[in-house]
């Protein structure tokens, strides 16, 4: 008994939306009932890496299926290209083919071997109902006529090359309701200053693995969630504090980045991996809302940064120390007993988690300090970096001998 075809059409279309386009179109020969169903599937994913398909056949297939596809609303068109020689001409034709379909989501990605396909100008002018646009590893061109994406909420630009700084400004200012922006830059993308000025933006991911002479300017007053990774850039300027920020992951190579800290002082959950310098630290900022802090211990001055952060975060509840990168410099950090015990230790810090603890001198001092003064500590979890059982035993012994101020504090060792 054929139970599959009896499922309601909406359900069948949903199941077919999970299939790659070639399987979707193949359903047309299943039975009479299925002959025309494929044309209504709202999501089409074309992948040219299927079994070494050659270019002509693949591009013909996309041409025809896009032309014959009937549904007036095509929700998603996803093109995964790169294995065949599909180029800008193809993209141009395909975008035009879906022009009247109220396309909601367009994803065009090229695999990393094929990195210089120029996206056509029709990308800006067609598909005005786009809500999501994701581009990966292609080249954007300048456009002289004005354009806008009135519904665009999610934009992702990964490893793209641009004609210059201006296009980015024009592009972003043509998206009045943009909420989610992901930018991952690559080398030689022709951008010196990447301007992100979007007043509606709530989520921002900025990764810069590219040019050392370039940087970011960020003006996003409504931002709630920030993820910045920059291991080469020259600068990062924040215009306008982000008063609505909730979560931030900041991983910088550049000491000037600490100015950024001042603009995200309302953050609740923070991950930091920045080099520390006393001059660059935003003295006077208080992280009133900070509840959870994770610090990467790969920098020389991480201890000083930590003490400043502890001092300025009166409500901190959870602290995590982790070494995400190999240690940067020769000299080890040096423990300086602070003059006053940070308020959060006395009143709010509940958990300490330490990953890749090595048992070095300054680490022991810090652990002792926290345990000695942590009034509200409930749980301390320490995972050792070494795998030598004897070493681990030594560390454990030392830790358990430290005096604890909090009567409820438990130490878990790994």
């Amino acid at each position: 008994m054929d139970r599959l075809s009896q499922l309601p059409e909406a359900l069948l279309l949903r199941i077919m939306s999970l299939l790659p386009a070639k399987d979707v179109v193949a359903t047309m020969v299943l039975s009479k009932q299925w002959q025309l169903l494929w044309m209504l599937v709202p999501k089409l994913v074309y992948d040219d890496s299927y079994q070494d398909i050659e270019y002509g056949r693949f591009s013909r297939f996309v041409d025809r299926s896009l032309t014959l596809h009937e549904a007036p609303v095509l929700d998603t068109l996803h093109l995964k290209l790169g294995k065949t020689s599909c180029g800008s001409g193809d993209i141009r034709v395909w975008i035009k083919a879906v022009d009247k379909r109220c396309l909601r989501e367009l994803i065009v990605e090229f695999d990393s071997n094929n990195s210089s396909v120029v996206l056509p100008v029709s990308l800006y002018t067609c598909c005005r109902m786009l809500v999501t646009l994701k581009l990966n590893n292609a080249v954007l061109v300048d456009v002289t006529s004005s354009f806008s994406f009135p519904s665009l909420k999610n934009l992702s630009l990964v490893s793209m090359k641009y004609p210059g700084d201006e296009l980015i400004k024009t592009f972003l200012s043509s998206c009045p309701v943009l909420e989610d922006l992901v930018v991952k830059r690559c080398l030689d993308d022709n951008v010196t200053i990447f301007n992100v000025r979007v007043s509606s933006l709530k989520f921002l991911v900025l990764h810069n693995k590219g040019d050392p002479d370039s940087g970011f300017v960020i003006d996003t007053p409504s931002l709630e969630c920030l993820d910045i990774f920059d291991n080469s850039g020259e600068f990062c300027v924040i215009e306008n504090d982000m008063t609505k920020i909730v979560k931030a992951d900041v991983c910088f190579d550049n000491a000037n980045a600490q100015q950024l800290l001042g603009s995200i002082s309302s953050v609740k959950r923070l991950y930091l991996c920045v080099p520390f310098s006393k001059d660059a630290y935003p003295v006077g900022s208080v992280f009133h809302c900070l509840v959870s802090l994770t610090l990467c211990t790969c920098e020389t001055e991480w201890l000083n940064l930590l003490m400043c952060m502890l001092r300025d975060s009166p409500k901190l509840r959870a602290l995590k120390l982790i070494q995400d990168h190999s240690f940067r410099s020769e000299s080890r950090p040096c423990w300086n007993e602070p003059s006053a015990v940070p308020e959060c230790l006395l009143t709010s810090l509940e958990t300490l988690e330490w990953v890749k603890y090595e048992g070095k001198e300054e680490e022991k001092e810090l652990a002792a300090f926290i345990l000695r003064n942590g009034n509200c500590l409930k749980r301390v979890t320490i995972s050792s970096k070494s795998t030598d059982l004897k070493e681990k035993y030594e560390i454990l012994k030392e830790l358990s001998l430290l005096s604890r101020r909090s009567p409820t504090c438990q130490i878990a060792f790994n």
């Binding site: 193949a26 002959q35 270019y55 002509g56 056949r57 299926s65 032309t67 549904a71 020689s85």
Partner: protein, 333 residues
């Protein structure tokens, strides 16, 4: 069960139950928090106030038979408990959907009518995984689909659509490009070999069925192979063009396309070419499409009705002012 009786007698002290009636008439009671996990049941309880006693049991939709309902309840019972980690849930889900395809379809249907979206997603994904990558024959066998297409329809599914003016236009444009390319080729002295090809499948189907040798052998057709020159990208063995030729010869009466070099060349060159050529194509294409889409839609409806009999009534689309679509269909969901 004594527990059930107690529930009736002392409702304040025992946990509450909801009474539900499946399509076969049998009535059962289910713990409230488990049953309320289904939005449809939740709605009935809140909006209509039913389900509190045996006489006022909630009637479940017809697609929910007792066996499927008990599966749905198992799912709800597991997932409504707070504190389950993502990993636990995933492991449970993976084990849960291991069943034969017949039951999987029934379960999808039941979950859909109960509006239990997480279970619908889970079962839909499982069905998609089964369908993906299989040949039409395999799919028909697994799901017991009726094999009611003629051989001709299976081999040339584009037969109806070859009448499509858009496709005709596309073919004409491809033919034009191929001619141009051939002229260019001649000037470059490229070798041309001719092979005889056993296979006759249309382009879409050959792409889809490239792993299935069974569907293929019917007629002898010609196939051309071009040794690469410097602007041809890929080497060719299954010629797209020859397939198209076959379709056109056997399908409708179009024989506009002469024997010409392989398809990918004419695609790669025109599409990679300059703005000018593309501008030449697009306005013309657009104009013709606009004029003939209406005509095609009408023909589609009538073809549909003719070929499927009473199984499916024609689906009419209308687009609302804001661009969203409203589908009027005579089918019941």
């Amino acid at each position: 069960m004594s527990e059930g009786n107690l529930a009736v007698m002392k409702p304040e002290t025992m946990k509450s139950y909801i009474w539900l009636q499946t399509a076969d008439g049998s009535i059962q009671q289910v713990e409230q928090e488990v049953a309320m996990f289904c939005p449809m049941i939740c709605q009935e309880v809140i909006q209509k106030g039913v389900g509190s006693s045996k006489n006022h049991a909630i009637s479940l939709p017809q697609r929910v038979n007792p066996a499927m309902f008990s599966l749905v309840l198992d799912y709800c019972r597991f997932h409504q408990m707070p504190g389950r980690s993502n990993k636990e849930q995933k492991t449970y889900d993976e084990r849960f959907i291991r069943m034969d395809t017949k039951r999987l379809c029934e379960l999808t249907s039941a979950a859909d009518s109960l509006q239990l979206k997480p279970l619908v997603d889970l079962t839909s994904r499982a069905l998609a995984r089964i369908i993906e990558g299989k040949t039409p024959e395999e799919i028909r066998e697994i799901f017991h689909l009726p094999d009611d297409l003629t051989e001709e329809e299976k081999l040339e599914p584009l037969k109806n659509t070859m009448d499509d003016p858009r496709i005709r236009l596309l073919n004409r444009l491809y033919a034009k490009k191929r001619k141009e390319l051939k002229e260019r080729e001649r000037l470059k002295n490229v070798e041309v070999e001719e092979h005889v090809d056993e296979r006759s499948v249309d382009d879409l189907l050959s792409f889809i069925n490239s792993r299935d040798p069974k569907v293929v052998k019917k007629k002898k057709k010609k196939k051309k192979k071009i040794v690469s020159s410097n602007d041809i990208h890929d080497k060719e063995s299954h010629d797209l063009h020859s397939k198209q030729q076959c379709v056109e010869e056997t399908g409708s009466s179009m024989r506009e396309v002469p024997n010409l070099p392989s398809a990918e060349d004419d695609i790669s060159t025109p599409k990679a070419s300059s703005e000018d050529e593309d501008d030449e194509i697009d306005p013309a294409m657009r104009e013709m499409l606009d004029r003939e889409v209406e005509d095609f839609a009408q023909r589609l409806n009538s073809t549909w009705v003719r070929s499927l009999g009473q199984e499916r009534r024609p689906v009419h689309f209308s687009i609302n002012g804001n661009g969203t679509t409203r589908r009027h269909t005579g089918q019941s969901p």
